[in-house]
Amino acid sequence: MKNLLAAAITAASMLLASPALAQTPPNVLVVGQIAEPKSLDPHAVTAVNDFRILVNVYDGLTRYKDGTLEVEPSLAESWTISEDGKTYTFKLREGVSFHDGTPFNAEAVKFNFDRMLKEDHPFHDTGPFPLAFFFSSVEEVTAVDDLTVEFKLKEPYAPFLSNLAYPTGLMVSPAAVEEHGKDFGRHPSGTGAFKFAEWDANAKLVVTRNEDYWDGAPPLEAVIYRPITDANTRIAEMLSGGLDVMVEVPPDSLQQFRDDAAFTVQEQAGPHVWFLILNLKEGPFAKKEIRQAANYAINKKALVENILQGTAEVAAGPTPPAFAWAYNDTLEPYPYDPEKAKQLLADAGYGGEQLTFYVTEGGSGMLDPLAMGTAIQADLQAVGMKVKIETYEWNTFLGKVNPGLEGKADMAEMAWMTNDPDTLPFLTLRSQAMPDQGGFNSGYYANEKVDDLLGKARAATDQNERAALYKEMQEIVHEDAPWVFVANWKQNAVTGAGVENFKLQPSFFLMLQDVAKP
């Protein structure tokens, strides 16, 4: 009996441990993702996790220039904009085919937008398309000839070109949609540098080199995306050599990778801003001095250095610096000055009223919201402001904050990641964007000058003209302080030995067209 058992154990352990742990093979890049992708239909998804795959399988009419958030031609070679800013005419690239062999042409472009926007389109039911409102200004798409397509807009809408570079604007193969219907998201076909090969649910998603890519075939033979939801497990897999690239490394573990010569840590600031919405309708924050006092009282440098451990930078205003062309670099963040905060509070006659502070446990772009919330509470209490925290799970939290803070809270955490300098202020800072009007101005900020500047910037088609308007808007908002401006997040990634030309983009998309791993 004993001998039998010993023999069995020996045999079992030999069997279990025998397959050698292979390192990842050359020319194949293994990427550790934070979750299982939802779908590979770019019009049906909303998460950055999915975008990281999609931008390598599809192209849009425009794309972001390497290392910037400025648009450049992609599937469209060139375009003209009418005087009134309402007609965009695109000249399409010739000789481009989808992975399924069908040609990319003006009819295909029309199909893509009609599917998303027209409820009577025969393939509209392959949705839902949650971000279709990015193109709600589009009235009609017309295929003028095989390689010319014209967009008529309902009103001038300057962010249109950068929305085309967003994943919601990526071009899918009409033939593949017609063939697979609702399952298109699992049988994707685009024009991108990599072709979809295999999706083994919850284990891996494989894309392979598109030899005929119009912008030159990529060096990698294949990319394997692995969903690993637990951050600790993702780190362990990276350390044990099972991954070549890992995104969203927790701040606590970055140093470990920095200290190890086998790994390279990459960081890139993105179009992200983390802020506190203040309730301007009622309570202490109705007074500008008290809002400014909160901005002075909170030690943002300590937040980004100690809690976020350098994975973010202090924000100066409502527009992230990643929008380099529209960012007002003369703005300085509110300095940490508790004495000044106390002075402002005394001048404004703050009587020690208790403030309710909505904090979330986690959520898209929220970084470390619980720890940040408690540190902010401590900073405000140090200058004499009484703060009561109420904590909610992310979905519940959005359900409380998005309808407006009136009657519920004085302040709330929030973070946004956008693709155009128009989006965030237009949705959150205009007096026409109050929650009951379908906007996100949950703190009820209203300033006619800001409304006017944002309206003009949206109608202008010249980038320099838009930039000047955004810069002025930032100055006013900085002074009015409807928010406490806290942090701009830096996206990070770790790459293993042998990975070449890997670069993070300010768009937070994971472009792998030029990456090599010989």
């Binding site: 069997l15 194949v28 239909d41 919850n202 939801t229 897999e237 099972g242």
Partner: protein, 314 residues
Amino acid sequence: MTAYIAKRLLAAIPVLFGLSVIVFLIMAMIPGDPATAILGSYATPENVARLNADLGLDKSLPQQYLIWLGNLLQGDLGRSYALNRPVLDEVLERFSATLILAGTALVLCSILGLLAGVVSAARQYGFADKAITVLVLIGISTPSFWLGLLLILAFAVKIKLFPASGMYAIYGGGDLPDLLHHLFLPALTLAAVATGVIARLTRTAMLEVLRQDYIRTARAKGLTERRVIYRHAFKAALVSVIPVIGIQAGFVLGGAVYIETVFQWPGIGSMLVNAISTRDLLLVQGGVLVVAAAYVLFNLAADVVQTLLDPRLR
């Protein structure tokens, strides 16, 4: 016996039905909805209303439930909002992965637990008993997700003997040795607590039996100690341990939630966690239904085995 099994299976139907109503109500009561989860920051009331209509969530709650029930009777569990694929495909795929993990863990904890319990009882207060008791207590009181991380650190990161996560190698592999290689650490982690529980109970049951008159008679007949323990005492003790193993099967299935997350095992536990956070009602319904049905079946199997072993119950 067949009649008994049929009766038990029929009794399970109202249980599962009631469970589906409860899950439906709980999912309706927790704040947040799939449209908000999908839209995130972009969840304006207008966008949420439009998406809810597209998802068929603008109907009343009883209406939604009846539609779901009607489809269920035709074998259709609906489509997951968050994953954009049929619930049945996802649930079956995930559940088979969980069955492999939980099944292995159950076999492992039964063998190790029974063995440890018998040895403990046979050598009461001896060195082996004391050593096993200490190990068993450590096993019971260690949080399994922590144990899992520790094993990953030791056997995947430091000595690269086993893979850190997943069910199969991502290239090559896919065969039985590959599966066993990936299965070893998570199954061991999952089995730890249940092994302790079974060992403690087996020890108690054995000690109880060893005090019985017929054991004294067996010894008096001059049978060897090994024969007394394994032929006579163990068989009798097993009768009271088997139902506990049935209950442990439920705990192992429940515990799989943590272990699957830690080891990125593509099972139904991690699926349910994600489905709840994205408010994916149909996926939660489908998953809970399958897990509950499995739990009922495990317990039935344990009862049947017990009946076969114990003539008094027949």
